[in-house]
Amino acid sequence: MSFKRQVRGSRSRGPAAGLLTWNRRVQLTGLVLTLPALAFAFAFMVYPVANVVFLSFHQYSPLRSADTTYAGLSNYTWLASSDIVAHSIWVTIVFTAVSVAIEMAAGLALAALLAKLVVESRHAFGRILSRVLLSSFILPFATPAVAGAIAWKMLLHPQFGPVDAILRTDIAWFSQFPLASVIAADAWKTMPFVLFLLFAAILSIEPDQYEAARLDGANGWQEFRYLTLPSIVPVLAVVAAFRAVDAFTKIFDIVFVTTGGGPGNDTQVFPLLIWRTAFDFLNFGQASALAVVAVLVSAALGASLLAIRRISPA
């Protein structure tokens, strides 16, 4: 991917010393180009993360006192023994599993239907229809999470929400079924992402294969089951892995806006627990220990994703 090999080959005059200078120049250019970004990431990512490790061994409550006092492992023993923390991790796992499962199922079904429509559209009507559909499917992705969360809060409102009005009930969904409601809102928001990736993957399958399947007398379902699905399994796996990591590490806005983690701690997902420990309870020591755990988990997940991405053809 570099100039090194090619340019070195094309420079016929190159004695050993000249090559070294050229090589050094390549290295220097690379450093100069990447340095601003690396310095930026160091100042506002690496250094703060190092600081959070330091703080996790201390007691620190800004606003109350500016002192940090050494606290040994106490923040970690709290973390390991706290029911609130264990519950929060459990809620996050359930949230991730259910939300990603719904997104994948709905995204796959719609992507397959949409791809079939696009492939078979030989008339203007079909093309216009598929464009309109694509645009509508992109809407949740383009909606800010905060606005999407407020929309769902309104939809599921017991007094004026259309859902209760149609069902003739007065269920306060976000209080009575908090986790399910949060999952519904999140699946709505992120499903388009899955849909578009799978849609692209399905469209990249060779049309000849569908032709052959049809000649063999396959019906729509058999086509999907024995041709489409096996062809996109690698993409499915990568997308599901990415969505799972993102859902697990980044779920915040929708919960913060709709339930705030409640009722009780029913929807207190892990990122929200970290935030509330720091900014509601002003316990930066405990929050730092939670943050260290989160960073370790996300680094491990991130590294495995990089590895998956590298070996997968997707």
């Binding site: 570099s2 990447t34 703080l55 800010p144 606005a147 806006v257 990122p271």
Partner: protein, 276 residues
């Protein structure tokens, strides 16, 4: 041309109807909110399923009179543009450097940078709050911009590096042999060629800045440094939820990203495909 049998015709209609139904279900939350945003409070509670008698624009007026949306809009614009500038300039240079001029250890550095993409934002915000406090940047849009930008940077490099990788190398080599410096080649050859990638990245960065909630609620307590996202939440207090204003404000917040996303749909979809 393939001739469709009758059964196949029917199944095509069924599939199209299913898709149309799904599309309606997917747009309903936002469309319903748009309708709700022009209802009066009485209409909202009295007849949840009815359309408003006449659009009541007062909710939109209240955003600016009651809820500081003028200054909040300005703050959101500043944050978004700041994130776009940092992401495109720093991320573009770094992605090009990683793609074309590998240095000792650059693969490891790149992997490290890409892994930070998975960092839980809420974990970073805790120490970043303390850093911004000591830099005196709390209650200032600069701290929010820096926070969003640093979380956005790995994604930018992630998307742009393969983009530069895929550019035909011969053109750049020709530039080098013609006596352009590496930076000249970057600026005059690679950047124009990678323009679609840069547009994609700028679009995603804009959305990241415009929609972020975590950094504003953590770093800002005054309306002077509060963008639209966190200003919206001021409408749901413990005593009263201003539903009309809340829905109007949500639509107001959504419109710019919606317009930009539809206008640049091609780039957005490419961003999704490259961003995972």
């Amino acid at each position: 041309m393939i001739a469709f049998s009758r059964a196949e015709q029917i199944s095509r209609v069924v599939r199209a109807s299913l898709l149309a139904l799904a599309a309606v279900a997917i747009v309903i939350p936002v469309v319903w909110m748009a309708i709700g945003s022009v209802k009066t409070e009485t209409e909202l509670f009295a007849s949840p399923l009815a359309l408003p008698a006449a659009p009541a624009w007062a909710n939109y007026g209240s955003l600016f009179q009651q809820f500081h949306f003028g200054i909040a809009t300005l703050n959101s614009v500043e944050i978004s543009l700041g994130v776009v500038a940092i992401s495109v300039v720093l991320g573009g240079m770094a992605a090009y450097g990683f793609s074309r001029y590998p240095f000792m250890g650059s693969r490891i550095v790149l992997s490290g940078l890409l892994i930070t993409r998975m960092v839980t934002p809420a974990a970073l915000v805790v120490p970043l709050y303390l850093l911004m406090n000591s830099l005196g940047l709390l209650n200032n849009v600069v701290s929010i911009t820096l926070g969003v930008a640093v979380l956005n940077l790995p994604l930018v490099v992630w998307i742009l590096r393969p983009f530069f990788d895929a550019l035909p190398r011969e053109i750049e080599e020709a530039g080098l042999l013609d006596g352009l410096s590496p930076f000249g080649v970057f600026w005059r050859v690679a950047v124009p060629l990678a323009a679609p990638g840069l547009v994609t990245v700028a679009l995603l960065s804009f959305i990241a800045g415009w929609t972020d909630l975590l950094f504003p609620i953590s770093f800002s307590t005054t309306p002077d440094a509060t963008p639209l996202t966190s200003q919206l939440l001021q409408m749901q207090t413990g005593y009263k939820i201003y539903w009309g204003s809340l829905m109007a404000g949500s639509i107001y917040l959504t419109l710019p990203t919606l317009v930009v996303s539809f206008a640049l749909q091609k780039y957005l979809v490419r961003g999704m495909r490259l961003g995972y």
